[in-house]
Symmetry: C2
Subunit: 209 residues, 2 copies
């Protein structure tokens, strides 16, 4: 699977001069945790995340003020450039998804802008990976069952954590074919084959029944 | 503001024996980024986050498998206890919100379970703080305007990043009162007072008009 297959696109971006109050509103309304910051040509110049905003000393202050600052003249509103992170790790849409996952693991960054031809075209986040994993067992079950049922309608397919348990015909040739077919499905980590009969399965301890 | 005023409650929790596949589903369905892990008495024993799941080598594997593990016998499904973080920073519902924000800043933890009498009663996350900040200027504007309009309907109130600009009567007594009243509103960082007249405001450079 490539990054472009899982990334969020189009992506909500801001510019360095976007008001922080507007960025907060965008993040809160759309439940986004990070916004890529781009210039006029959509080139990536930074990222502003929940963490950047929560860490900003100037923004927080929700207690009743002990002393309120008396401000003599108009103050310029605060802008994204005041809080954004400048050094941003990014990925390309045609890179393997595993590259993005490796980067998330190594850097503890939770959102990676996706850049192509110097333009931001998407964003990929931990929550996208969670979404993929949450749906994986179900998707693998469907794909493996479709493949095996074309060979024999007797195969039963169960999937847990990417490990596929198939139960069906005793014929060695059919069993080998089923194993090979299962191995072609994206996301499969392991295969266990059982016989359809009710006899005690290989590898299970005898319990005296 | 106290933590209980902003926390999410009731909170979705899991136990150490919850299947990881079920935890993934919960997080994906409800768009939650962290689940407190509790024992039978709802006492906090850990937390499982997006990061814990994305870092888990055993779960990821979305490429077509080069070699599929042939598994001889049934494998136990993976459970929350296999990946959860055991040492959890928590807060109390009656603590000041600033305490939670300070902890988020110091530890880079984005979600803090809220514990009372040894039971998990809620969770507070960076996104709750973002929500608070996103609505703050509007809330402050309303509260300050209500207070000042009780004194004089002539006050105009604008708020940007917690800084309140009030424009109104020239009478020094009224202005002082307005300033004190504004300072009693939660979330106000600074106050700037202008006169209602159209003369050049104090502190602004003369532009020859």
């Amino acid at each position: 699977m490539l990054i472009r297959d899982l990334m969020t696109t189009p992506v909500t971006t801001v510019t360095p001069v976007t008001l922080i109050s507007a960025a907060l509103q965008l993040m809160d309304d759309a439940k986004i945790t990070a916004l890529p910051v781009v210039d006029r040509r959509d080139a990536l110049v930074g990222i502003v995340s929940e963490a950047d905003l929560v860490e900003d000393e100037n923004l927080i202050g929700d207690r009743v003020p002990a002393t309120v600052l008396k401000i003599p003249g108009p103050t310029p509103p605060r802008r994204v450039a005041d809080v954004m992170t400048h050094l941003v790790v990014s990925v390309g849409p045609h890179e393997d998804l595993e590259a993005a996952i490796d980067l998330m693991r190594q850097t503890m960054v939770k959102s990676l802008p996706v850049v192509e031809h110097n333009r931001v075209v998407g964003i990929i986040s931990r929550s996208d990976v969670i979404h993929l994993l949450a749906g994986r067992d179900r998707r693998v079950q469907t794909e493996v069952a479709d493949l095996l049922h074309a060979e024999s309608p007797d195969w039963e397919v169960q999937v847990q954590d990417g490990i596929v348990t198939i139960t069906g015909p005793a014929d060695p040739h059919e069993r080998h074919l089923a194993e090979v077919l299962t191995g072609t499905v994206r996301g499969v980590i392991g295969v266990q084959i059982n016989r359809l009969s009710s006899r005690v399965m290989d590898g299970q301890p005898s319990t005296g029944t």
